[in-house]
Amino acid sequence: MSHVSTFREYLRREFGITLPREVVLQEQENVIRVFSKTLMMMKPAGYMGFVAGKVSTNGIELKSEFIQLFGKHATKNTLELDEIQAKSFVENDFVEIRNPADSAAGSTGSGWKIAKSGTHVLGIGRLRDGKLYPDFIGKGRKRAENSLVPAKKQSI
């Protein structure tokens, strides 16, 4: 089985994610990249789309940016975070999950989970011993300084 097939099967099995037909996965330099089918027509060689994740002997890693785009299709192994938890998660801190079954959709007590907060897909993290550890953002853009609490709707 190719790494791309393994990756696609993992998405379906673990999260119930089936990617839209217009989206392509391709292995390039040991990572799986995701891009639009229309990009196939571009001839000059280069880096297609962006990195979706990696298949290695250690298992499969998913990138949060990929999950932010396609996590809305997930039907299992998602965790609904409240406002305070979501803030911690985005700040790259672990989040206490008291009872995964209370906040998780089709989730077991450990392993990779898609973190959601309301309509927002925040990314992916690993649940271990009641804590969700984000696999998240670079140091340079680690801290969110504001809150994602729904604001009073602006009429623009």
Partner: protein
């Protein structure tokens, strides 16, 4: 020798109202990234105070937090981008069937805007000469959910691709004279040196266009050597090339007519037009 403030003011007065330009405040703006969130939903969730502009996805923005350190930014719902720098993509106006070259793409503001206008369809070649600057491009492509861009790291002045793209954007490296205090580093020789690279890049992008293709050339400088003069050389050396109307309504001055009447079709944007950084924009049609 570099300029002081008085010399800069005199320099600007040669082609514009220096007092107005230098006294106009430049405001922060953001672009809502509709590839990741519908505009209406963004208005519902954001705490950033927004004020509309002439572009329906571009907003003046005020926030207690730094705009680049907000959740909205991390989740790729928006991009901090000057209003002026949204114009080149809007003027190029790519559609879902276009094959687009962005020859100097990093940090990816315009690449991601092009992708948004194309709704992640079609194809963009986002090129950057420098690996270090390229990392910002890779990062923004991922954060903003861009699926229709291929990133290359090559010297844009020597692209060597002929008659391939339907549209091209040359947002050229420049002396950045519209940036605060850039005049302190500006010399006529800097403009001359920059224009040499710009001309090579412009010709490289133009030659990569198919017949009937369109190109937008832009800089964030006021120096005419880097703007009208660079475009003029292309028009002289490629007789089938012609300036096209910008076909997007926004406040601006026309380009300098000392280079010919046709330069009325180009745009010079100064801070007092809409409280954004200065820009030069020209649209060229091939054949």
């Amino acid at each position: 020798m570099c300029m002081d403030e008085k010399q800069f003011r005199d320099y600007l007065s040669g082609f514009a109202d220096a007092d107005k330009m230098l006294s106009a405040p430049v405001r922060d703006t953001i672009r809502v990234n509709t590839l990741k969130i519908p505009k209406a939903e963004f208005f519902e969730i954001t705490k950033i105070k927004l004020e509309p502009t002439f572009y329906d996805c571009g907003f003046y923005a005020e926030s207690e937090a730094r705009l680049g350190a907000t959740w909205e930014y991390f989740l790729g719902y928006m991009h901090t981008q000057s209003l002026s720098s949204m114009l080149p993509s809007l003027i190029l106006n790519p559609n879902e069937r276009d094959i687009v070259l962005d020859i100097a793409a990093s940090p990816g503001s315009k690449t991601s805007h092009l992708a948004m206008l194309m709704q992640n369809k079609g194809a963009i070649l986002a090129n950057e000469v420098n690996w270090e600057r390229g990392s910002a491009l890779f990062s923004n492509v991922a954060r903003l959910g861009i699926l229709n861009a291929k990133v290359t790291v090559r010297d844009g002045t020597k692209l060597g691709i002929n008659s391939y793209f339907t549209k091209a954007l040359v947002d050229a490296p420049c002396s950045s004279l519209s940036q605060p205090y850039a005049y302190k580093k500006f010399t006529p020789n800097l403009a001359y040196e920059m224009s040499k690279t710009q001309k090579k890049m412009l010709f490289s992008a133009y030659d990569s266009l198919r017949e009937g293709g369109e190109l937008v050339y832009s800089t964030c400088t006021y120096a005419k050597e880097e703007n009208e003069e660079t475009v003029k050389l292309l028009l002289e050396k490629r007789p089938e090339a012609g300036l096209a109307g910008l076909e997007f309504d926004f406040p601006h001055d026309s380009g300098l007519s000392e280079y010919g009447k046709e330069f009325r079709k180009t745009a010079r944007i100064y801070p007092h037009h809409f409280n954004s950084e200065g820009f030069f924009i020209a649209k060229v049609k091939k054949g």
